[in-house]
């Protein structure tokens, strides 16, 4: 009888221990902060003088408990340098970019935060940085394509977490860096035009297949985006942005609903500069801050309602903290379906009225001239001249994944104003725009553009046919 009781007690105790062990394992990292620290703020200059926040020498990814920050644990001690951590939606895994040895290329790795085991995901001959989790087994990252035939710097790629299915999704001559994945499932990326002339960094958004690439946020002229945008549960996106002098960076918030009109500088009244920001699950912000140039950045809390710095959580004299993220379970972004069909070689774009300028630019006389034709410009060539319809509409079928711009022409064939921003169409993508230099806030008028009553103009115009899969009628 006693033996039976003992066995029973033993079994119960074992079961309890297993439960405790399981729970503690699964929760052990919940609420912890993962920071990136580096001995110096050495950064690599990209093409066109672009600033890459990655490629930091001897950076380390460190996990710490915000209540006991002194007991920080280096997660990437096996690496020469590691940075850009991103935590999975279930709070269990971490993607990061790292060099194993000093002269290795940067590649993407994934770590199980519960046991710190890691594995390599990408194996390219060129650098891969800035990984971000996409919903359900996929991720997006930025790959250095400076050796590519197109005038691109870094472009975005997506792939499976097992290293398969890598696909390029951005094609303009830009520097593209993945920033975050928003709740609606779209990628928010920092992008900067490099060709033919450099421009300011802006936030672009696109679906995970690269379609519907569009402006999301643009700061004041000369401003620069630093670090990743991070959104909270209330639809507010936080990021750090320098002013036009580049000397001071502030924490800025924008609303997801109205990104172009809702900018709030949260730290304008605070001297010093900010490098990274992350909204905490408790409604505060974690920020990387330095009091004065030359001093290392340290990790602080930031009170959103009071707009003031809170407790200093972590910092050392010999290292600078360049990034922060909190480990937690997050609402998974939506997994968006794709219209891309790689068997199709073209995509389509329709414009309602090339002469329509919307509210903001209506007073610019040069743009009010009625345009009857335009030129489709490639990176180094012209893809042809297209006549617009009487209502100003045009309808193009464009070779997919090829950057192009629209340049309005006058009756003598001379360019009117500047061409539009770089565009690309993914295979089988369909896009629409209201006009050139349109107001981003405008929805289309409910009219049938004359151009879609005809067949689309194939671009480049010298191509007569494309050998592509026939699209099935839905």
């Amino acid at each position: 009888m006693k033996t039976r009781k003992f066995h029973l007690l033993y079994l119960i105790a074992t079961a309890c221990l297993m439960v405790v062990f399981t729970v503690s394992c699964s929760k052990s990292t919940e609420g912890r902060l993962i920071i990136t620290q580096a001995p110096e703020t050495d950064i690599v200059q990209g093409k066109g003088g672009s600033i890459l926040p990655s490629y930091v020498h001897q950076a380390q990814i460190v996990m710490l408990n915000p209540r006991k920050p002194a007991a920080a644990k280096i997660l990437t001690k096996d690496f020469y340098s590691a940075c850009s951590p991103d935590v999975s939606w279930d709070g269990r895994h971490m993607l990061f970019a790292a060099q194993q040895k000093e002269h290795d290329t940067w590649q993407i790795w994934e770590m199980d935060l519960r046991n710190q085991k890691y594995h390599r995901i990408t194996s390219f001959t060129d650098n891969c940085i800035d990984p971000v989790y996409l919903p359900i087994g996929r991720f997006v990252f930025s790959r250095d394509l400076t050796g590519d035939t197109l005038k691109a710097d870094h472009s975005l790629f997506v792939g499976n977490l097992d290293g398969t299915g890598m696909m390029r999704i951005t094609f303009q001559p830009h520097l593209d860096l993945a920033a975050t994945v928003m709740k609606d499932g779209r990628i928010l990326a920092i992008t900067q035009q490099l060709f033919p002339a450099g421009s300011d960094q802006i936030y672009m958004t696109m679906r995970p297949d690269g379609t519907k690439c569009d402006l999301f946020y643009k700061g004041d002229k000369g401003s620069s985006l630093i670090g990743r945008g991070r959104d909270n549960q209330d639809g507010i996106i936080f990021f750090t942005e320098t002013d036009s002098t580049g000397r001071k960076a502030d924490v800025v918030s924008i609303s997801y609903n109205r990104p172009l009109e809702s900018r709030v500088n949260l730290t304008g009244s605070i001297s010093g500069s900010f490098k990274a920001v992350f909204p905490s699950s408790a409604g505060k912000l974690f920020v990387c801050y330095n009091e004065a140039p030359g001093k290392p950045f340290a990790l602080y809390e930031f009170d959103l309602s009071e707009k003031r710095l809170g407790k200093r959580l972590y910092g050392k004299d010999d290292v600078t903290v360049i990034d922060v993220i909190q480990v937690s379970e997050y609402e998974r972004p939506k997994k968006l379906p794709t219209e891309v069909d790689m068997g199709v070689k073209t995509g389509q774009i329709m414009c309602q009225d090339i002469n329509f300028t919307g509210l903001g630019l209506a007073s610019e006389a040069s743009l009010l001239r009625k345009v009857e034709r335009f030129e489709v410009l490639g990176v180094d060539t012209s893809y042809g001249i297209v006549h617009v319809e009487e209502d100003g509409s045009f309808y193009l079928k464009v070779l997919a994944d090829m950057p192009f711009r629209i340049q309005k022409l006058d009756e003598n064939g001379k360019a009117i104003g500047e061409p539009c921003a770089w565009l690309y169409i993914r295979p089988n993508e369909r896009r629409g725009c209201i006009g050139c230099h349109e107001d981003r806030n405008l929805a289309p008028d409910n009219v049938v553009p004359l151009a879609v009553k005809k067949d689309p103009v194939l671009i480049p115009t010298h191509i007569a046919v494309t050998d592509e899969k026939e699209v099935e009628l839905e």
Binding site: P337, T338, L442, N446, V447, V471, E474
Partner: protein, 689 residues
């Protein structure tokens, strides 16, 4: 007796045995590899995906319309739709659309104190001036119930036109204006005579009605657009009746508008507001982002000579507020509230800010604002979240409380109009559980399945029907393959779906492909898809065809039309080839043979295809007709678009005969109604021949 008891016992045992054995057998079969493989293939074919859970009950239990199933699985919901508050602020009178009830709610006690049975599918309620009587419009009974509020019983029933919806009393309380939503007209009822004395034509599918503050003019909104061809500017009619002369004095086309459900006046009467949708059906459906499918807002009509009609959006650049339904304005004229049944929210408007914006903006600027997704920041004060599918709203007499009918929640939300917070909700006593079909109804009505909540299934299928609009789906090239929206009512037994018949099941229709080309969002979770399909198939009947077939028996003209529909020989005695007879492709009970056909309607802008033969239940309510909506009326199908007898042999008809055929077609309704006719039951049983 003993024997009977034993038999009863045996029956019970048998049922218990079946309850235990059947699931075990099914479970064993499912894990048995060959059966599992077969089941996997079967589900893959039905759902057009390879990972839908193998849940036999999803189809074999929840999709069956048998009485037993309905009794076991479903339950009676109330579905509050519209409501009014008593002047003393103590009571609410709530129309329960599915319960067929007028509920009297004691606001203080937060409970229903009386339930009065009214007609079928009640829509709206209005109280007389001394609050002794309530008038409830019964949309599926074609009448108005008159309720004595002292005795809480129906004391009279007043006949109306077809589908009575919005309802309003004249200032002197002598006349009742009833908006007939299916008949597209307005009944004027003399309450002393207790009968309809006049009927005015209104816009297409009118519903909302309100008097101006002076009480002399009645304004009626319409939901569906005027019957204009694709490529033309859509517009909805605002109809104005003058109570002094008892006739229509103005018909105003509200351009680019659709689903103008209701009306609200400012207390001074200077502005009239109508929630509405601005659809983009003429624009190729290439994207959802940036308002390329639907935008939601309201129209403002200035009430002065040469007053302008202005349209403004309540949407934002990255978030949309689908399906604006009702609007009320506080007695001080400062705040307006719009219920959005598609996103479970109320938008709070600053009326003064709107007035200022309108007064300081040029006509040209206002035209641009009508499409502007940023302008709402100038006048939207707040969004207040509600329960599922908020519909009608009413304010307390002092304007301090806003009451919202949470249609698919069976409760009323009480919102403080100062703090703009929900103070409490009043449970109307509906069933606590949410059935699979009810969940499906919520899914259908909610826009969260669409990218940035831009539209719900309901938006294009209001009342689970269709919107009367033609879209350019642009699936191959833009500008080609136009598609006339089809009704979702009573479609469970009429596969395949879509005009080209590409989707064999509703699972396929609303699954992955739907998310790729229409919602452009994550596909419905399988639980939600199961529920949506269950709702569409089992709980979604056509309204009774009271306009053309109120008794289930055909009149003489319709019978002559029926004979023409079923004829085998033409007027010259020559046999009509079977393929050219109406009844061959449209046999009862659903009047479709479920097969594709070429009826000579392929347009130059269509890719080569055959068209699925549509069912004809309640066809009278589904204008426009043909796959691309080119026929505005049933007549036009043959008078304009069937020159070669390919769409049935009709070219030997006289005009009168064509009218007879059309009268018969208009009389067709869902089988449960038309099968009432014994002769037709037999006919249906014999397969229509």
């Amino acid at each position: 007796m003993k024997k009977k008891l034993n038999w009863n016992n045996m029956k019970k045992r048998l049922i218990i045995l079946l309850i235990i054995v059947v699931p075990i057998v099914v479970a064993v079969l499912i894990v048995y590899p060959p059966f599992h493989r077969w089941a996997r293939m079967h589900v893959n074919i039905k759902t057009a995906v390879e990972d839908h859970p193998l849940n036999c009950a999803s189809c074999h239990l929840y999709l069956h319309k048998t009485k037993l199933n309905t009794k076991i699985l479903n339950t009676e919901y109330l579905s509050p739709f519209n409501l009014v508050a008593s002047q003393d602020g103590q009571k609410l009178f709530v129309v329960a659309e599915e319960g067929n009830l007028l509920l009297v709610v004691d606001i203080g006690k937060e409970k229903v104190i009386k339930k009065v049975k009214v007609g079928n599918q009640p829509h709206s309620v209005v109280l007389n001036n001394d609050e002794t009587l309530a008038y409830v419009s019964n949309q599926w009974s074609d009448n108005v119930s008159v309720i004595d509020l002292n005795r809480f019983e129906v004391i009279d029933t007043l006949s109306t036109g077809n589908g009575p919806a919005g309802i309003a009393l004249s200032k002197n309380g002598e006349h009742l204006y009833v908006v007939n939503s299916y008949g597209s007209d307005i009944s004027l009822i003399d309450l002393s005579m207790r009968e309809e004395i006049r009927r005015f034509t209104a816009g297409n599918n009118p519903t909302g009605i309100a008097a101006n503050p002076a009480g002399n003019l009645f304004y009626v909104t319409s939901r569906r657009t005027q019957g204009l061809p694709y490529d033309d500017t859509v517009s909805c009619e605002l109809t104005v009746a003058d109570d002094r002369v008892q006739r229509i004095v103005e018909r105003k086309d509200i351009k680019s508008a659709y689903m103008m459900e209701n009306i609200a006046f400012t207390p001074s009467g200077d502005l009239l507001f109508m929630p509405m949708i601005r659809p983009k059906n003429n624009v190729p459906t290439v994207q959802v982002d940036r308002g390329w499918m639907m935008t939601n807002g309201f129209a403002v009509v200035e009430q002065k000579p040469n007053g302008r009609t202005i349209q403004l959006l309540v949407d934002e650049y990255n978030e949309y507020f689908a399906d604006p339904f009702d609007m009320v304005i506080t007695p001080d004229g400062k705040k307006g509230f719009i219920s959005h049944s598609g996103v479970n929210a109320i938008t709070v408007l600053d009326i003064e800010a709107i007035r200022k914006l309108i007064s300081e903006s040029s006509d040209e600027l206002l035209q641009t604002y009508a499409n502007h997704l940023g302008i709402s920041s100038r006048y939207v004060l707040k969004r207040i979240l509600t329960g599922a599918n908020p519909k009608g709203m009413t304010l307390s007499a002092d304007g301090r409380k806003l009451y919202v009918a949470e249609h698919l929640e069976d409760r009323i939300a009480v919102i403080n109009t100062e703090s703009l917070e929900t103070e409490k909700t009043i449970d109307l006593g509906g069933p606590g559980r949410i059935t699979v079909a009810r969940q499906g109804r919520r899914v259908l009505n909610n826009a969260s399945g669409t990218f940035q909540n831009q539209y719900a299934c309901y938006t294009c299928h209001p009342d689970v029907h269709e919107d009367g609009l033609v879209y350019n789906m642009a699936s191959i090239d833009m500008g080609r393959n136009l598609a006339n929206t089809q009704s979702l009512r009573d479609i469970g037994d009429t596969p395949p779906y879509k005009w080209n018949g590409k989707n064999q099941t509703i699972y396929k229709q609303d699954g992955m492909r739907f998310s790729t080309v229409l919602t452009r969002n994550e596909p419905f979770a399988y639980d939600d898809l199961d529920a949506l399909v269950a709702y569409i198939i089992t709980d979604n009947p056509n309204p009774p065809n009271l306009l053309y077939n109120p008794t289930g028996k055909l009149n003489a003209m319709q019978l002559r039309g029926k004979a023409l529909f079923e004829r085998t020989h033409d007027m010259y005695g020559k046999e009509i080839p079977e393929i050219n007879r109406c009844v061959t492709c449209h046999p009862p009970p659903y009047f479709t043979n479920l097969e594709p056909a070429d009826v000579g309607t392929l347009a130059a802008t269509d890719d080569s295809m055959l068209f699925d033969t549509p069912h004809l239940s309640n066809i009278y309510a589904s204008a426009p007709y043909l796959h691309d909506g080119r026929a505005k009326t049933l007549e036009e199908i043959w008078t304009l678009y069937a020159p070669d007898d390919k769409h049935g042999a009709v070219n030997d008809f006289t005009k009168i005969q064509l009218n007879e055929l059309i009268e018969y077609l208009k009389a067709l309704s869902s089988p449960e109604f038309h099968m009432k006719d014994e002769d037709q039951v037999m006919h249906a049983e014999m397969g229509g021949h």
